[in-house]
Assembly symmetry: C2
Homo-oligomer: 227 residues x 2
DNA sequence: TGGAGAACGAGACGATACGTCTCGACTCCC
DNA sequence: GGGAGTCGAGACGTATCGTCTCGTTCTCCA
């Protein structure tokens, strides 16, 4: 997934360290999040991301994460229910930090030329998809989300939809400027260029190049039928 | 993935039972495929598909497949290297049998009305994506393919690309009839409606309806810009 | 028709990793 | 300064892994 898991992450309500353990199953007394060790949390994120990059998702075990982070296993089980959940949070955290590096507020460009703006953003997305720092964890999460419905929904809601919303707003602006038909639903329209890119990335069903995304934008805006 | 993993599978060279064990690593003497037990092979396919549907991919273990199929574990390890590979073959086999049920040769409709033909096929694909018989294994394979490059390439090559090729041919026909611009690359063009559908299915990022796919076709053919 | 050889079903085996649990050390708050 | 709760560490029983024997069954060829 993550058609655009990439592209600098904008505001996003800055998910706080997370107060509720996923592990809030009945029976167990809820752990006290105010006493949680920030140091351990960070170390676990780092270890999880590093391991996924180095040995792949299947061999990224809870025990390996704990050992690498210099942390007891119970500290992981206390706050998370699965390694997918750990990795999702680690990745969300990584995205946020990356976004902060990029300056206060990143906004979707709006030069008045829709095609140019879309091409610019999609080119940046391609670059990010090829960034090895993101590749491994993003793929692992996407795969997990396909199979694990709850994780998938969190992934989509927290990471994907906020991204897509930026496209929606840019397309609405284009509608006001008369560059996009008024009767078009922006939430569907954006899928014409975002989904093919995401799909190629996930399935490796074709090369990811700037020319490719430029072409997608041209086809989507101009249509396949003769004009 | 499998944007169109569905849609009746056409000819396809009818992958024979598979002669080489994936397990053809060095050292081990290659097993003699002519003496292979057809009965066991079928039982393993059935068990694998059933288990994935019942308990999900992660809990579909090799041991469970062997036990359910009434087969020794070694019989599985002799012919396959991983459960992903087992499931992929089982699913390919299922697709082929489903295709055969559908009559000799299924061909992409070509009534001369491209929009109508595409809508028809995409509606059928939606229906198939919602068929529980396909859902579980298809999701599991898609997820595995995202993370396991070799499996993913096999999945794309054997299952996906043959499907997509049908769209390519239909689009070329439309180009000859003047319904699609000549300068359009059909392999990319098809992604405008196929990928969004696949993406929604995989990510559960929106409802899968006939109206949705109809809209995709309209947007892709007509373009988003005012005409 | 009978023997050889390979695949077969069954399951024992050591190696992980699972998730739970207990322990003493530490830290924060009353 | 005492209590409660998290922490690192690791022992524990269970489950699955992939490999490895066992006899048995099947098939081909002499």
């Amino acid at each position: 997934m993550s058609p655009t898991s990439s592209a600098p992450v904008p505001d996003q309500p800055a998910t706080p360290p997370r107060t509720t353990p996923g592990n809030q199953a009945p029976g167990r007394p809820a752990p006290d999040s105010t006493r949680r060790s920030e140091r351990s949390r960070r170390a676990i994120y780092d270890a999880a991301l590093a391991l996924v990059g180095e040995v792949g998702y299947p061999r990224t075990t809870i025990e390996a994460i704990a050992s690498r982070a210099g942390v007891g296993k119970q500290t992981i089980y206390r706050w998370w229910t699965s390694k997918g959940e750990v990795l999702l949070e680690a990745f969300l955290d990584l995205s946020q930090r990356a976004a902060e590096e990029l300056g206060e507020e990143w906004v979707f460009p709006d030069t008045g030329d829709l095609a140019a703006d879309l091409k610019l953003v999609l080119r940046a997305t391609v670059d990010e998809m090829l960034d090895p720092r993101f590749e491994a964890p993003a793929r692992a999460l996407a795969a997990q989300g396909v199979v694990d419905e709850q994780l998938g929904r969190t992934f989509v809601t927290q990471l994907l939809e906020p991204q897509l919303q930026l496209y929606v707003e840019r397309l609405k602006s284009a509608q006001e400027q008369g560059q996009v038909r008024r009767d078009v639903d922006p939430r569907i329209a954006l899928e014409l260029f975002v989904s093919p890119l995401a799909q190629r990335w996930l399935q490796r069903s074709g090369p990811l190049t700037h020319e490719y995304t430029d072409t997608l934008v041209d086809y989507a805006l101009g249509g396949l039928s003769p004009r």
